[in-house]
Symmetry: C2
Subunit: 236 residues, 2 copies
């Protein structure tokens, strides 16, 4: 693990363990440099990471402060690795409805830069959070990148398998969101009524080298799906 990641992790743990609140001040840069025995740039880089993560904010001439949002139980739309991490005390489970090797739909081929004859893994799941149906998800994985999948993996975490089992590195994702009404099938699977509202998302995940490997369509249960985003304005 890199120094700046290590330091960021330790600072985050320190904030967590001491239950620091919004606006609480952290030690000044010089102190942190001395404490961790690294140069200023390294500390700066750690703090940038924490800033982007929404953990701290820095005020020039004043100090480094803890940032805390005020609500619990919301799923972060930025974490990019499924939503397991955000809901510490929540158990996420999955029921696999379908899993097969097939040819991509037109939209899947387009999103994954594939031809109509390339193979993909198609996975359809219901995902539960603390026993409540959270969403219905249909995923297409480029088989050239993800050569093997099974129900056991899909029941736990496909992304963990991709990272740890296959040793692939996930780089970035595009997520498209809109609101719509549940189809009959989705309503049935989620235990809701057709015509009820849903959050509908399509996402494309890429490896660090830019190759898209996963195209997914997700319909969220409107009663369970609460999201949050922490944004910074340094590039707006």
């Amino acid at each position: 693990m890199l120094k700046y990641q290590q330091i960021a992790a330790e600072l985050e743990k320190y904030i967590e363990d001491n239950e620091l609140q919004q606006g609480d001040k952290l030690p000044v840069l010089e102190m942190l440099m001395a404490q961790f025995k690294v140069s200023k740039s390294t500390i700066t880089k750690s703090l940038e990471l924490l800033e982007r993560k929404g953990v701290v904010y820095q005020v020039r001439g004043s100090g480094i402060f803890v940032r805390r949002h005020k609500r619990k139980g919301y799923i972060s739309l930025l974490s990019n690795q499924g939503f397991k991490k955000d809901l510490e005390n929540a158990s996420v489970t999955s029921k696999v409805l379908d899993l097969k090797v097939t040819k991509p739909t037109e939209e899947a081929a387009y999103s994954l830069n594939l031809g109509a004859d390339d193979d993909v893994y198609y996975v359809k799941r219901i995902r539960y959070i603390n026993g409540h149906a959270l969403c219905v998800e249909e995923s297409y994985f480029n088989k050239a990148i993800v050569p093997y999948l099974n129900r056991e993996i899909a029941e736990v975490s496909i992304f963990t398998y991709i990272k740890e089992g296959l040793g692939l590195k996930i780089g970035f994702s595009d997520l498209y969101l809109k609101v719509d009404m549940l189809t009959e099938e989705e309503a049935d699977l989620l235990g809701l009524k057709p015509g009820d509202p849903k959050l509908y998302g399509e996402s494309i995940f890429h490896l660090t080298n830019g190759l898209p490997f996963d195209y997914s369509k997700i319909a969220y249960n409107f009663e369970e799906a609460h999201f949050f985003i922490q944004a910074n304005s340094d590039f707006s």
Copy 2:
């Protein structure tokens, strides 16, 4: 303007002007250093900015590549400054339904760290995009920070006024999202039916010094509200 921001802006413009596509390669770091006559760290910082913005991705050992998402007309949930910037060819207008100085509601006071007796500006608007009703927005501004507002400002852009008129610096925001059904009043204002789906968001905007100054509740027209998020996994 800082060097690294300037360089980032120029690179982005270059990509735009030359209509570079997903995966197109940019000059290597050494070239960029020479071209802009700055040190490696400065170029690196520019590219980090563009990476977070979703404009490029960098692959160690390989190069710097253009990142392009595949859909147009989606509103970025990260831009943090209203949605004007994302929709280049779209005109955003507002109809002010109410604007007054008043006392905060309980939730507004909580979100803005105010007491029940502090003054806030309350603004209620319908926002249109190319003539279509996009959302109904209710905002509360801490009057101690935003001492003056009028209908003329609210019809154009409150955020532009806050930044340019008042010289305040917007730092970061928390955005909470869920899906729900339109109330009768909202449906009426948006030209939809009660019970139709809506994306419902609450946001809290902070200055760079951490003070919250705006708490807003927004109900989006489900037919018009299409969003996207570009995420990176360097902190997941």
